[in-house]
């Protein structure tokens, strides 16, 4: 029974605004979903811009896309999908009440997230090296094709914003892991793992949209 811990053994104190503990649990989950909806809208504008740009300037956008580091992006996609797998593992184990396994999975998730950031940083460095940063006061490789600039600028803003979310995510995850290593955590706050899991999967999901929209289409 995976729900054994969640439904029965919650001996968390009832906060004063609630009537039942069930209500208290549901509220956290719904709150996170509502937050994720706003996050989705935050990125949606950028995706839409990139897609419309492709329709308007297919040749230039294709040119810009071929200069992106496809294999680093693809590796990073795989890394993030794996991190979602380990995060799901942490959630399942937290439901079963197996604390050590859960902590291991959470640390693995944080490591994969960090690996993603390292690879992403290396990719930025390569972009810099190939003069692919049109906003810097130095020569720009595709200067002859002006509409590549907007596409690349959107690429940097989108991946940068995603990176900020990932840095936040890893930081929160490390704090959560530290909290969860204390003995009575699972009895009290198991739902924090579930709620955090939603956020982590969401970051992953955003990248799964970023990758095709920026790297793959028109290639």
């Amino acid at each position: 029974m995976p729900d054994a811990v969640t439904a029965e053994a919650v001996d968390i104190e009832l906060a004063e605004q609630f009537v039942t503990k069930e209500q208290q649990r549901d509220v956290g989950t719904l709150g996170m979903w509502a937050w994720l909806v706003t996050e989705l809208l935050l990125f949606a504008g950028l995706f839409l811009c990139a897609l419309i740009l492709r329709i308007q300037f297919p040749a230039d956008v294709t040119l810009a896309t071929t200069h992106l580091k496809f294999w680093i992006g693809a590796t990073n996609t795989a890394v993030l999908i794996c991190s979602s797998l380990t995060m799901s593992g942490a959630i399942v184990l937290s439901r079963l009440g197996w604390r050590r396994g859960m902590l291991g999975c959470m640390l693995a998730t944080a490591c994969l997230g960090t690996l993603f950031l390292v690879l992403k940083g290396y990719e930025y460095y390569q972009d810099y090296d190939e003069n692919m940063m049109p906003f810097l006061a130095r020569p720009y490789a595709l200067g002859a094709h002006p509409s590549t600039r907007l596409f690349l600028d959107i690429y940097y803003v989108t991946t940068g914003l995603h990176g900020v979310h990932l840095i936040t995510g890893v930081s929160i995850l490390l704090v959560l892991t530290w909290q969860a290593s204390r003995p009575r955590f699972l009895q009290m706050h198991q739902n924090r793992i579930e709620i955090y899991g939603l956020y982590w999967h969401f970051i992953d999901l955003i990248w799964i949209i970023v990758f095709p929209v920026l790297y793959v289409l028109n290639r």
Partner: protein, 550 residues
Amino acid sequence: MSPLDSLYRDPDTARITLDRPADYLHAEHTLRSWFFTTDHKRIALLYLASITGFFVLGAIAAGLVRLSLVVPNGVIFTNDTYNKLFTMHGVIMVWFFLIPSIPATFGNFLIPLMIGAKDLAFPRLNLLSWYVFMTGALFTMVVLIVGGVDTGWTFYAPFSTTYSNFYVIPALIGVIIVGFSSILTGLNFIVTIHKMRCPGMTWFRMPIFVWTLYATSLIFLLGTPVITLALILLVMERAFHIGVFDPKLGGDPVLFEHLFWFYSHPAVYIMVLPGMGVVTELVAAFSQKRVFGYRFVAYASIGLASITFFVWGHHMFVNGQSQLASTVFSFLSFAVAVPSAVKVYNWTATIHKGAIRLDTPMLYAMGYIGLFVLGGLTGLFLATLAVDAHLHDTYFVVAHFHYIMVGGTMLAFLGGLHYWWPKFTGRMYPEAWGRVGALLIFIGFNVTFFPQFILGYLGMPRRYHVYPPEFQLLNVLSSAGSTILALGYFFPMIYLVWSLWFGKRAPANPWQAKGLEWTTSSPPPAHNFLAIPRVDFEPYDYPIKAPERA
């Protein structure tokens, strides 16, 4: 059914709250108990005090703008000063007053009371949202002190990213931060309305005010992140030359307008929808009648919140948008009139044959309905493609949106403030002064803004302070009206503060109104209700046949 249960259905009008437990205002007295409170009622009052401060600042800026326009040659202020004045007026009034006005004060205070909850779902997040708001406010104050900003509240690129010589980045950061406070408030309301309703409080037993705030919160959640993104991109472009909007850097200026208005048109409904909710409450209470077509009014709120996301293009009819897009946006903009009209007709039908009392809140509500109709209908003129080519960026537009935002939201805010003032503070305001104030504001408002319709029709562009001398008469009339309006605003500011100490003690339900918020004492105890209410009756449960006037 316990005696308490029947009380929720028929609020005891005579019950004076003497032997009550300490109410939320008197539960604790320290400064700490206010600034670190998690009580939604106290947070609502924190918001009320802060937005009132901003309203005064924004109103002073407006007064100076009107002062400058008394003479046609623009000698009173320099061009830069004038630009900064209307920008500060717009930025403060839109982002720091109108958007948080009704949701963050009345919404915070009343949603838990109206649905029978002890507090919002996330009380600490609620407090955080106020601190976030004040942090954004701090940035704006700094901008104000060090020298202002001259982009207009719309921050259009590339002027804002490349050419403006003033403090655009801190102003943008202030607005971005305030956006997060909106998101937190909206998130809190949505979760609260979904999960915190008391037993028996079904969706269709909720007051319309709660429905409209649900719709508003949807806009907070879906719209605000888009403006956050647009403003972040502006900061990026201005600070790091990541060109997204400036053609010189490879960007597209119309793209900014798309992103900006995708939020900022729905933002109009962030301002208007809660006002509609307030007016629905007022109309029902002061006509002692059920809301006519309750379900339609509820659906119309959600309808407005949905359609409003698909009309942003009507701000760009003459800004290089394709003809096809303009036609579609024009059609969709007309569609907004349908749910708006549903509301207006339903209010009218609710008033019809009611036992009407023309107390101050009802005066504001009636003023709201009239001015909202005028503002709404002129909106249809502007949604017409050919007419907009003539009226775009003229004073006609200025008059139109002031009819919606001041004639609409501001009057609803004041009406609601008077209506719920006894519940907030436990004191009654002086009725006679209230009526005089309401009348002055109505007259002052119309004298200020009606001439602007004519000015705009004659071709006076907005945001100019040098204009042809033949427009002077109407401009002087408008400025004269603004002094009446300002005088009108002084009335409630003075007598409401006065009433805190000298007002008559309020009974639990001074208006013989229905609704759970009137069943608890005035002011309510710290956890709102002595016992969790149970609801087995419809909203606005007034007697079917209107009672004779007492």
